[in-house]
């Protein structure tokens, strides 16, 4: 380190005196900051006049495209000239943290929230409760799976907007070469048998591909299997973990078995949904589960080599049926918003059946009646019939305020099991032990 001339202190070392001075400065800063413990600058929101500027936070990933949302917003402003909306787009990975960081400042009036966040955002009062504003007609008009998206302990914290679950996609050409009938893929046993046939006949080295990277996507795939094997994340009273027994364990054992039998591509452990979409579109996988957006992507001749050879099927059933994972998202009004009235109008507009029907190409509507709307069906001839069946039964990831922590624990332990570093039972027991204090 440097040493200006003329001092006799040893070079580059903190003397005791300097340490003392530094800590005095730090203590001073502490006292200064301690005046408001976690405080300073929290903005209480307000209803506002119902006019003026609002800011909305969206993601740029699957579902509605940025262009779709900008068009919807333009239409809204035409109908409501006194409200100006400024939409903002961030990656899904940054969405949660952006909402949290912006909450005390009230930067955004409307935020898009994932189905796993209402418990957290609701109890921490980051978003407002809207139970009183939701008309009764909505509650009967929306699909059951959608309705729970923004609900926690009987209260609504937003309005469902993106309704999604994972479907089974199959490459019919590869299946045909192995003599597998897509109809047999209605159960996970059928999928396993098909995968073995594909492997034995050397049609493809690894028939199955999943989104098993250590992120939320892994839990989505796991959840889908937990549902099929009749497992539960939490005990019925919601105060104990239950994923380490019964169906929860069977689901992980199933995942591990497909790896052990070399039916699942080991690269699944570094893949997220978009990697799955890419490999599948290149013909590198025979079967995969993924969100609705893969339907149009895999059938797009410009970006896919398997266009026209894609079968979209309901998620396969296990011993306990075949519920799809609830991967929906909702629009919420933030507590920090000073213009909640205008924000609510915007939310109501975007979630209305007319708007959702109009943009059904990239994201299916939340409204039951929409699935009989000719335009919606025509926009998505492949998915709507499957969706109708699938969306009736969805399985939720645990609805608890500390979900993210549980999810992180689970992701790590599930990967431990998938990599063969622990037995599935051991991995889930370890996860359960760590998760226990988080649900109590």
């Amino acid at each position: 380190m440097s040493e200006p001339k003329g001092t006799s202190e040893p070079k580059g070392m903190l003397s005791r005196r300097e340490l003392f001075r530094l800590s005095a400065v730090a203590a001073g800063a502490g006292i200064l900051a301690g005046c408001d413990v976690a405080g300073g600058g929290g903005n209480a929101g307000g209803q506002g006049s119902g006019e003026g500027k609002i800011k909305a936070l969206f993601m740029q990933q699957a579902a509605y495209s940025e262009a779709d949302i900008r068009n919807m917003t333009a239409d809204f402003q035409k109908a409501n000239p006194k409200i100006q909306v400024e939409p903002t787009f961030v990656a899904y990975d940054a969405l949660h943290d952006k909402i949290v960081a912006a909450a005390p400042a009230g930067t955004y009036d409307v935020v898009l929230i994932d189905v796993i966040w209402p418990a957290e955002f609701g109890t921490k009062k980051i978003v407002t409760e809207v139970s009183g504003d939701v008309p009764a007609a909505w509650q009967s008009g929306m699909l059951g799976g959608a309705l729970t998206t923004a609900k926690y302990q009987g209260r609504f914290y937003g309005v469902p907007w993106i309704l999604d679950t994972k479907y089974l996609f199959a490459n019919t050409e590869l299946l045909g070469r192995a003599g597998v009938d897509p109809v047999s893929l209605s159960t996970w046993d059928g999928v396993l048998a098909a995968a073995r046939a594909l492997k034995d006949k050397r049609v493809i080295e690894y028939p199955l591909l999943w989104s098993w990277k250590q992120v939320e996507a892994l839990i989505c795939d796991y959840t889908q299997l937990v549902g099929a094997f009749g497992g539960k994340f939490l005990a019925d009273d919601g105060r104990a973990v239950a994923f380490n027994t019964g169906g929860g364990l069977a689901a992980l054992e199933f995942m591990r078995r497909t790896l052990d039998e070399k039916l699942t591509n080991p690269n699944s452990l570094e893949s997220v949904e978009d990697d799955v979409r890419k490999v599948f579109s290149e013909g590198g996988a025979a079967m995969a589960i993924n969100w609705t957006y893969m339907v149009s992507a895999a059938d797009d001749t410009a970006n896919s080599k398997v266009a026209g050879k894609v079968a979209v099927l309901p998620t396969p059933s296990g011993p306990s049926g075949g519920p799809g994972v609830n991967g929906s998202m909702a629009l919420s009004v933030t507590s920090g918003s000073r213009n909640q009235k205008a924000a609510w109008r915007y939310v109501s507009y975007l979630t209305s059946a007319e708007v959702q029907n109009k943009y059904a190409k990239n994201s299916l509507p939340c409204w039951a009646a929409s699935y009989d709307d000719r335009k919606v069906v025509e926009a998505n001839p492949k998915v709507v019939p499957v969706a109708k069946k699938q969306l009736a039964s969805l399985i939720e990831r645990p609805q608890v305020p500390r979900y993210n922590e549980i999810s992180q624990l689970l992701q790590a332990e599930i990967q431990n099991a998938l990599l063969g570093r622990k037995s599935p039972r051991q991995a889930l027991d370890d996860a359960a032990a760590q998760a226990k204090p988080l649900v109590a």
């Binding site: 903190l14 300097e18 530094l22 961030v90 009230g106 970006n303």
Partner: protein
């Protein structure tokens, strides 16, 4: 003779190791999607295209347009930070190098300790402060934050640099009637040019590189910087490797050019600025 062959062979090998990944990035941005995804990989592309660059430069909204804004933002933020942190770093560095005052070393250390704080720990309180002053999602806000990152560094290196310059010249100027500051500007600064340029280069790259603050403090094309745009790019466009590569090439171009232009100052600046003194 054998020595000369050896050093040239070694330099060639090092160059290949350094250039190969770069070359692959540039190549990926220019060839067709099917060439990139072929297995086994073809080494001679079937299709060469500038489409991705065209897309980035012509799109009027979406990721590609954001990317263009981000280059501009990064440039303005980095330049602004360099200018400000250099000016205050020169003033403060001069004081540390040439003047005696109580708590001198403590002051310098206090500056350096701030450099060790992980941004994570400061980000939420900082967010509130910035919200209070209306600095969120503005380039000004980022410049303020980045100045706090770059200034300890500029102050430290400039003080070392000044300490190596002979005092006599300055004194001669003061005998001729210059004030201290006059002497600083007229005598010291011209002599310190390599150090100033090298320090500025460091500060520039520091800003161009910063990710976490930019991720949380910016949200639109008003202020999003290149690292944020690239991270979003890679998250979303897993399908088109070529587009990610093109974004990467464009994001790397400005700092690489600047580093190449100013590299001759770097050795001189580094050797006196941070090593001597």
């Amino acid at each position: 003779m054998r020595y000369r062959v050896f050093i040239h062979a070694a330099a060639l090998f090092a160059s290949v190791v350094i250039l190969a990944p770069f070359g692959w990035l540039a190549y990926s941005s220019l060839v067709g999607q099917s060439d990139l995804l072929a297995r086994p990989l073809r080494w001679w592309p079937e299709r060469v295209t500038l489409d991705r660059y065209r897309e980035i430069f012509s799109a009027d909204q979406g990721a590609a347009a954001l990317f263009r804004d981000a280059v501009v933002n990064s440039f303005l933020v980095a330049s602004g930070t360099v200018v400000i942190s250099l000016v205050v770093g020169i003033l403060g560095g001069y004081a540390v190098a040439r003047l005696r005052f109580p708590l001198r070393r403590t002051t310098l250390l206090a500056f350096l300790v701030t450099y060790m704080l992980p941004p994570i720990s400061l980000i939420i309180p900082l967010y509130l402060l910035m919200a209070r002053f209306g600095l969120l999602d503005t380039r000004t806000g980022l410049i303020v934050v980045y100045c706090s990152l770059a200034t300890p560094f500029t102050l430290w290196t400039m003080s070392n640099f000044f300490a190596t310059l002979p005092v006599e010249l300055e004194e001669a100027a003061r005998v001729d009637g210059c004030t201290r500051l006059g002497a600083l500007v007229r005598v010291i600064l011209p002599l310190a040019r390599p150090g100033i340029v090298a320090t500025g280069l460091f500060a520039f790259l520091l800003c161009w590189d910063e990710f976490l603050y930019a991720l949380i403090f910016t949200s639109t094309g008003n202020a999003k910087t290149i690292p944020v745009a690239i991270a979003e790019f890679t998250g979303r466009n897993a399908v088109d490797f070529g587009l990610i590569a093109a974004g990467g090439v464009l994001a790397a171009l400005p700092p690489v050019l600047i580093a190449l232009v100013f590299q001759r100052y770097l050795i001189g600046g580094l050797s006196t600025g941070s090593l001597k003194g």
